[in-house]
Amino acid sequence: MAESRTRTYLGVPLYRPRVAFFEFSSCEGCQLQILNNESTLLDFLSLVEVVNFREAMTERSEDYEIAFVEGSITTEEEIKRLKKIRKNAKTLAAMGSCACFGGVNQLKNRFRNPASAKREVYGSHPVDSGPVRAVEDVVGVDLRIYGCPISKDEVEKIVLHIAIGKSIVVPKYPVCMECKRNENICLFEFGEPCLGPVTRAGCDSWCPSNRAGCWGCRGPAEDVNLRQMRKIMEENGFSEETIIDRLECFGGFLSLMKPERGRHG
């Protein structure tokens, strides 16, 4: 490893951080995304020293600089574990919609009576599962990697920028920019709902390019005009329920529409 420590880019030594991956309440699909892209996997792994990655290796270490945290926080045990990770890590990256916003899991927060919902699903089996929280609702977060799942390209870029000391920039504009670049016909033309105009870009309009309307997994773009978006959805004949289902699905828009939380009985 000593040799790779001295690796350089244009004569400047690379920073090769010790990184760890952790999962909380999630499907671990984001971690799998990282392992997915075999063609660049070795290059990616050569930029970091992975010391903890349950999906990929058995060795474990508590000595790391960057912690990539996947999943939402739902139990007391998770809170304790997350706080310990925060203490160990210099940089903590919330990875994926669950970590950033609570993700699909946070839909359960909509129930006014969670105890009855829990009974319905688990019966009398005791399950330690409280309200769903995003990582940043429990500990400080230095970096957010959006998406459900995350885009491998984006993670590669982030890690590369850490290695060569380049700032990390994510788009503030919405998905429409990428969708137009991809020359797609707007889904509203087909009469399909889409959150592209209010959702943060960076996914390269993954869903709309495949004729599926955006569900907002990357959360809101900056300076988002949600009021107008809802009006447009309404004018295009979509029900209030359709609109709210989309906006609530991944949890990214919740902070912009708080009064409606807990409307389900």
Partner: protein, 349 residues
């Protein structure tokens, strides 16, 4: 100027001759919308029958063929501590734009002023522009077309030949010797007095069909006066800041540049991406300061660039009145309505 007329079936012959050795880009049907109406787009075409010469307007202009949404300005190969830079203008062969409407030809003429005939021409644009053969085609004005207000309803130059449908035959205006030489391969004839009369009749009938208008009288001055007007706030409140208007605009040329390094550290690239001044990131500079953090100021400056700044610099507007921005805007913000509101009439009152 040379005029010819030819029988309609000759056009396929002309296409076949042109496409034999050349790449042809033309309007095609890209799909159908929810109401079953065709959606048109410019695309590479091999079969004459795929071309839709009666198309209304394409959702996206032909802009990407000379100003791609994304284009590498330079690529770098890196070996040890050294690097080598390569520049390519990203055009492999000349190409033919078959069936460009007058608004889109005028859009090219406007872009030429900035990107070709200015102090610092853009070689990436010039290389493509110099390798383009343009066949203009007349159109039927749609309810959203206000090109006549912008003086862009007819094209005087910027094409090689321009074809007008006279009903039974085509009337062609020839501007270049390349076009003249191509036309020698099909049967054409000198137009007679009857053809001239028919041409003028067709043009007069087309002029009757324009319904959307923009009053451009003193517009640059009025925009100056109304810089602080509340109407900008009104439109800004509607705007989604999604950038679609600029992406579908045939004359928006603003761009951002991103430098990226390949994950294997063996290469790097400098990529130009067309941008929109309506999006949040547009006026953000190093250090994080944003000169235009508000939607309504961004929207306003887009109108100022089109209808004021460009007019001061080039004595004409940077808008051709194709209506694409208004048609694509989910928030229903249209140029005729915005300009009318600035002039003191419109729905915001």
């Amino acid at each position: 100027m040379i005029f010819r007329v030819f029988e309609k079936e000759e056009l396929k012959q002309l296409f076949d001759i042109l496409s034999d050795h050349n790449r042809v880009v033309a309007p095609v049907e890209a799909g159908r919308d929810g109401s079953g109406r065709p959606v048109y787009a410019f695309s590479d075409v091999r079969e004459f029958n795929d071309i839709r010469l009666n198309h209304t307007v394409t959702k996206l202009p032909a802009k990407r063929y000379f100003l791609p949404f994304k284009e590498d300005l330079a690529t770098f190969t890196i070996e040890n501590d050294n690097w080598h830079k390569s520049i390519a203008y990203n055009i492999e062969q000349p190409f033919i734009l078959f069936g460009l409407h007058p608004c889109d030809i005028n859009a090219l003429n406007k872009l030429d002023k900035v990107l070709l005939h200015s102090v610092y021409p853009m070689p990436y644009y010039a290389a493509k522009r110099k390798n383009m053969f343009i066949i203009g085609f007349d159109c039927i004005p749609q309810p959203y077309c206000f090109c006549r207000s912008m003086g862009a309803d007819t094209a005087l130059h910027g094409f090689d030949m321009f074809i007008t449908d006279l009903g039974a035959r085509y009337f062609v205006e020839i501007l270049t010797d390349t076009a003249y030489n191509f036309l020698r391969h099909i049967r054409t004839e000198e137009p007679g007095e009857d053809d001239h009369i028919l041409y003028m009749k067709v043009v007069a009938e087309r002029n009757e069909k324009f319904t959307a208008h923009v009053d451009t009288t003193d517009l640059a001055k009025i925009l100056d006066m109304e810089f602080q007007s509340d109407v900008w706030k009104y439109w800004g409140d509607r705007c989604l800041a999604c950038g679609t208007c600029a992406n579908v605009c045939p004359t928006c040329y603003c761009y951002g540049v991103e430098e990226t390094v390949d994950i294997d550290l063996k290469g790097a690239r400098k990529t130009k991406m067309l941008y929109s001044c309506n999006v949040m990131d547009f006026a953000e500079v190093a250090g994080g300061h944003n000169f235009r953090p508000e939607r309504h100021t961004r929207l306003k400056y887009r109108y100022y660039h089109k209808h004021r700044g460009f007019v001061e610099a080039f004595e004409e507007s940077l808008c051709v009145g194709c209506g694409r921005c208004g048609e694509s805007c989910l928030a229903d913000i249209t140029v005729p309505e915005v300009i009318a509101s600035v002039r003191g009439s419109g729905r915001n009152e």
